[in-house]
Structure formats: structure tokens, C-alpha cells
């Protein structure tokens, strides 16, 4: 039976992959062709979705973008034998966009059946866990520390240090919490992993549990990701059935249980302490730190809170060793970062690369420039709390420290491209407005500062006491940066000030770019 792959990834579905799969099934049946349709993750090249891949004698052959109406002609042209057709793409892995990536965390995404445990194991899955089960706890943590892995959620805190703190905090109960509240605009790598290879996250969390002695894990998933919810639950069930979750993991006598909990549309719950409050069933108000969640976390117990990509990078580290992972990257940014090209960009998608390539390479060599064909004017990296960059800054290497040096953040690796029709005063106002909408309200600089920020920007744009109000806006941003409890209020000034500094003409100010 010929295996045919059509993605179940949300973005592929948003372009019609569901109907493509359905049509393929009915058309094949009508033509007496026996096929096995696998609903895989996405390869991450979304301009080619819905993508159809066929397993043929000469390897996997791709066609795309395919619409349901194309299916009869494709079948007639001999798609199941990998024959030519205008939508023929050949071996997708030979396209430069795919070939030039370093797919470590995303090794299986788009290739395997996401919810098949057998498929996962056949593609090098659960090798990290096998190694971890033979190790001392300190040894597991050492591999993670040696890998140089830093929190991929955006804060880039060394993962090994966090794990070590939890390991050394004695308690009768500890927790592993996965932060899957991927709320930043322009980011979708967490979603792609959860939809395309949920076992890698489950394996990473299980290893984390073994490393620090935690027997219960929670994935705090945003409610906007129903397809990820479904895939995770299917995979968790399969892992329980296969003895990879439960009271006795693979006969080791060690226990790890895992459950998905849904958020409810609050951006702030991506902040780790707010997330913990929400998991406890409360309003997602940010907690004071210290104490750190690693010491007093969920239900007051020592807790690892890690992002999806951080945890999903652990299996390969335990499989191939911390050194293997550390050999990718530059400076203090080790390993790879799954970058997400979004917004006004021709070749939008996921690009996992070792740290160090420049933003310009990514935007033009792979991204192909703007989708509209107009010049790229501003690029926001790192989500709604990240700075807007302008052309002169595009040669900055994608590296945590290099971005910090230009008052920007790499964050979760989300890149939103705007062409020259963008009004940066509007984007600055939106950043403040978003903070009004999403502030948890606990601290004054964030709660009130954001509202005052919208008003001050409105006055600047309306040309009321311009010089005075620009000074006031800068002063307000300073208060928010220094006085906010968490990154919500503390970083909202990044997009605001970068817009003001790099695009003053949009605020009706003299262009005085430093």
C-alpha cells in the first residue's frame, strides 16, 4: 500500500489540507487505488502547503501547494508513482530552504506520523530516555548543563542551572511544567512540535522528571491550539499504553505522569509565575520572585517550568550527549533555534538553524523578501515585547548577546516582517494597547503605565506639545522598564522606544537616526 502524507498541522489545515486529505481518500477509492493516508506534521515551508508527499520506490516525492480540485489530475498523472506534474517538487529535503537547516529539535517533524509510537521509536525516538534511565540524576543534569541549552521561551536562562536547583531542593513532591502558552505573535514553533512530534516533548518532560525526581508533569497549553491539544492527548495515551508514562516507566520502577491543562486566552499566563497561578485555578497574577519557582513553584513545591522547545531539545541531548548539541551555535548561544518567519514575508515558515546566521540571510536568502514585493521596512524579533529593527541592523547575527547589544531580544525566535506601508507610530501605540489588554494588573507601572502610554502616543501623533510629550513617553518607558514586576510591563517599552528611535518620521519627528 502506498503511503501518502498530508499534514494535520494547523497552518496546513488553514490552507485546506483537511479537504485535500478527504478528497484524496474518496478519489483514490473511486479509482480503485489503495493508499494509506498519514496525517503528518508540517515540513514548515508554508508557501508549499497543503503539501502532499508520496512514498515511492525512489524515495519521498512531494507535490504542492495542492488544492482539493487538483487531486484527480494528480492521480491521473501518476502521483502515486512519483511522476511529473506542474505541482511536482521532487524530494523536498533537497530544497535549499530545508537542506540548509540544522534540524535537531525538529528532526522528525513533517516526516513521521505524529501520534504513532512505533513511528517515533523507528525514527530514533526514546533513545534519550533509554540513556537517562541508566544514569544518575546528576549525570542527566550535567548533560543538559554541558549542552549549553538556554530557555527557548525567550528569557534564555540556562536550563541546566534551573534543573540543578530543583534537583537540590528536597521535597516529597516535585513538578515538571511545560509552558505551552505560546502567545507571541509571529511564533508557532511550539505548536508545530506539539502537532508534528508530540512524543519528543513527552520524552523531554519524562527525562526532566527522572533528572530531578518529579513524578507529575503538566503541559499548560493555550486554548487557541485545539489541534495541538488533540495530538498531545493522543500521544500521551499511546505513551501510557506503551509503558513510557505511568508508574513503572519501561520496567525501571520510576514513575512519571503527564496531563494537558488548557489556558483561557490570557497572554500573561505565558509568564511562568502567572502560569503557575493559573494551573492552581486562580487568576493569572504574576508572583513576586524570589522565591523562584524552582524552589517554591506549583502548589508550593519545587517545579521546573520550561518552554516546549527547551524540553523538546532534551531528548537529542541525552541521545547524542551534551557536547553534540553544544557544538552547534556561537558564543554563549549554543545549539539551534527554530526560527519562525512570519508576517509580510514571501517564504514564511519554520527554519531551525544553529545560532549565528544573520537576520538578513534569513530574511532574503531564505525568506525571499517581503510577500508584497515592497521593501522590508521594519522587523520585529522576539514577539510583541521585542524591538523593531531597521535595515542597518539586519546584519546582526542571531545570537542572544548580539541582540542584547543592540537593545533587542531574540526571544522565542519569532520574526514578524513589515513592508514600507507600515506606520510605526501605530505599531508603538498597539504595543501599549496590547499591554493594557493583557496586563495582569498587579503592578502599577504596567497596569496604569500602558494606558498612559497610549494617551501620550496619541498626543504626540496629534502634534500636541510634541517635544514635551516625547520626553514624557521616554520617562514613562523608563518607569515601566525599571518598575514592572515582570517582562510584560518591563519590555513593552522595547517595541515602543525602538519604533520611536528608528522611525521618528512616523511620529512626525525629525529623522535623527543615531
Amino acid at each position: 500500500m502506498t503511503r501518502v502524507f498530508v499534514s494535520r498541522d494547523s497552518t496546513a489545515l488553514s490552507l485546506g489540507a483537511g479537504l485535500v486529505a478527504k478528497t484524496l481518500a474518496t478519489e483514490a477509492q473511486a479509482k480503485n487505488l489503495t493508499i494509506d493516508i498519514v496525517r503528518n506534521g508540517s515540513r514548515g515551508m508554508f508557501w508549499l502547503e497543503p503539501l502532499v508527499e508520496v512514498e515511492t520506490a525512489q524515495g519521498r516525492v512531494a507535490y504542492g501547494p495542492v488544492q482539493a480540485a487538483d487531486i484527480p489530475a494528480l492521480l491521473d498523472a501518476g502521483m502515486l508513482e512519483g511522476k511529473q506534474h506542474p505541482l511536482f517538487l521532487g524530494n523536498i529535503e533537497q530544497l535549499p530552504y530545508f537542506k540548509n537547516q540544522n534540524r535537531l529539535t525538529f528532526a522528525r517533524v513533517g516526516i513521521t506520523d505524529p501520534v504513532s509510537l512505533d513511528d517515533y521509536i523507528a525514527h530514533e525516538g526514546y533513545r534519550g530516555l533509554k540513556n537517562a534511565l541508566a544514569m544518575q540524576q546528576t549525570e542527566i543534569v550535567k548533560h543538559v548543563t554541558d549542552s549549553g541549552l538556554r530557555g527557548r521561551g525567550g528569557a534564555a536562562f540556562p536550563t541546566g542551572i534551573k534543573w540543578n536547583t530543583v534537583l537540590n531542593s528536597p521535597a516529597e513532591q516535585k513538578y515538571i511544567v511545560c509552558n505551552a502558552d505560546e502567545g507571541d505573535s509571529g511564533t508557532f514553533s511550539d505548536r508545530m512540535v506539539m502537532e508534528g512530534d508530540p512524543f519528543v516533548l513527552i520524552e523531554g518532560m519524562t527525562i526532566a522528571g527522572l533528572a530531578v525526581g518529579a513524578t507529575q508533569g503538566y503541559i499548560y497549553l493555550r486554548v487557541e491550539y485545539p489541534h495541538a491539544h488533540k495530538a498531545l492527548n493522543e500521544a500521551i495515551q499511546a505513551a501510557y499504553q506503551g509503558g513510557y508514562l505511568g508508574d513503572d516507566i519501561q520496567g525501571s520502577g520510576k514513575a512519571f505522569h503527564l496531563e494537558v491543562r488548557l489556558g483561557a486566552g490570557a497572554y500573561i499566563c505565558g509568564e511562568e509565575t502567572s502560569l503557575l497561578e493559573s494551573l492552581e485555578g486562580k487568576r493569572g497574577l504574576v508572583r513576586f520572585k524570589p522565591p523562584l519557582p524552582a524552589i517554591v513553584g506549583l502548589f508550593g513545591k519545587p517545579t521546573i517550568v520550561n518552554n516546549v522547545i527547551s524540553l523538546a531539545s532534551v531528548p537529542i541531548i541525552l541521545d547524542k550527549g551534551g557536547d553534540y548539541y553544544r557544538d552547534y551555535g556561537m558564543g554563549r548561544s549554543r545549539g539551534t533555534l527554530p526560527l519562525q518567519l512570519a508576517g509580510n514575508i514571501k517564504h514564511s515558515g519554520l527554519f531551525e538553524a544553529a545560532f549565528g546566521m544573520t537576520l538578513r540571510e534569513l530574511l532574503y536568502d531564505y525568506g525571499g523578501g517581503s510577500a508584497s514585493g515592497r521593501p522590508i521596512r521594519a522587523v520585529q524579533v522576539g514577539g510583541p515585547l521585542g524591538a523593531y529593527l531597521y535595515d542597518d541592523q539586519f546584519d546582526t547575527p542571531l545570537d542572544y548577546e548580539a541582540f542584547a547589544a543592540i537593545s533587542a531580544v531574540l526571544g522565542h525566535g519569532g520574526i514578524v516582517v513589515h513592508d514600507d506601508t507600515v506606520n510605526m507610530a501605530e505599531m508603538a501605540r498597539y504595543a501599549m494597547e496590547f499591554c493594557v489588554e493583557e496586563s495582569c494588573g498587579k503592578c502599577t507601572p504596567c497596569r496604569i503605565g500602558s494606558t498612559r502610554g497610549v494617551e501620550v502616543i496619541d498626543r504626540i501623533v496629534a502634534d500636541i506639545d510634541k517635544a514635551k510629550n516625547v520626553e514624557l513617553l521616554r520617562d514613562l518607558c523608563d518607569t515601566m522598564v525599571c518598575g514592572s514586576l515582570c517582562a510584560m510591563g518591563g519590555m513593552t517599552p522595547y517595541p515602543v522606544l525602538s519604533a520611536l528611535n528608528h522611525f521618528p518620521e512616523d511620529f512626525g519627528l525629525q529623522a535623527a537616526r543615531a
Partner: protein, 159 residues
């Protein structure tokens, strides 16, 4: 207690019973109620509070904190439009304006005929194909005003 709630109460009590032993169960309970009833009726607050040994103010506080939870019945179809940066970069603001005019309602409102509710959402994770919307949970990418009209017409046709 309203007439409606007399019919809804057994559902609420079932959801409460199903989550009794779960640690941190308030959000799963609220999801359970909204999944079943479409919203969280005001009268349910007292029952939830009693079952969880919380004050009604605490329960109300949680419901009102989260954008996703609603306290009024939704229209037959719920349309969510992403308003975040990536969608704005692909003419999302034009789509927002078009949608509100075409449906004749603003965000967080329901049409008088109770057919459509319009909600704002900040990112659907579909940023590679902006602008994005969902209708009754189905996701659509690269939505132009014309495509929006087709999708709405399809909803109307299906009724």
C-alpha cells in the same frame, strides 16, 4: 434562579462532580461548563463556589480574568479574528474593519439575530499565513475581505 439555569444546573453539577479530585480544578471546570453550555451562566457561580469552598467573588474573579470565558450565550457561529502584529503586517486591520462592518457588530458583540459573535484573539499561531481567523474552531489563513465574505456566506447557507 432563572428558568434557563434550571435546565443547565445538572450539567454544571456533572462537570463539578467529574473534576472533584483534580488539583487546581477551577479552570478545567470552567472549560467543561463552557464547552457544554457555550458560556458560563451567572447562576453557576454560586454552585461552583460552594463545590470548591471558594467565595463567589473568587470564582467571578477567575472567570472575568480570562478573555476566553464568556458569561453570555454566543451566537450560532463564533468568529475569532487575530489582531496581533503578524496579521497586521498582512492587512489584518483592513480585515477587522471589513468584518465589523459586514457583520454590523463590534468585537465582543453578537448580531441581533444571534447568528454571529465576533471575538478578538491575539495570535492563533498561524502567523506564517496571516491574516488568520477561526470560525467555530476551524482555522483559515490568508483571509482577504472577499474570502471572509465567502466563509460567512457558507455559514449562512449551512443554516
Amino acid at each position: 434562579m432563572t428558568q434557563d439555569y434550571q435546565n443547565q444546573k445538572p450539567v454544571v453539577l456533572d462537570v463539578l462532580a467529574a473534576h472533584q479530585a483534580m488539583p487546581g480544578n477551577l479552570l478545567p471546570i470552567l472549560h467543561g461548563i463552557q464547552d457544554n453550555l457555550g458560556y458560563i451562566p451567572a447562576d453557576a457561580v454560586a454552585d461552583i463556589a460552594a463545590a470548591l469552598n471558594l467565595s463567589r467573588a473568587e470564582v467571578h474573579g477567575v472567570i472575568s480574568f480570562y478573555h476566553y470565558f464568556r458569561t453570555t450565550p454566543p451566537g450560532k457561529h463564533v468568529v475569532r479574528i487575530c489582531r496581533a502584529e503578524s496579521c497586521q503586517a498582512m492587512n489584518g486591520r483592513t480585515l477587522e474593519k471589513h468584518a465589523t462592518q459586514m457583520l454590523g457588530i463590534d468585537f465582543h458583540e453578537t448580531t441581533a439575530d444571534e447568528r454571529f459573535s465576533l471575538e478578538a484573539v491575539y495570535c492563533l499561531g498561524n502567523c506564517a499565513c496571516s491574516p488568520a481567523i477561526t470560525i467555530d474552531g476551524d482555522i483559515y489563513g490568508r483571509v482577504t475581505p472577499e474570502k471572509f465574505d465567502q466563509l460567512i456566506a457558507a455559514c449562512k447557507g449551512a443554516q
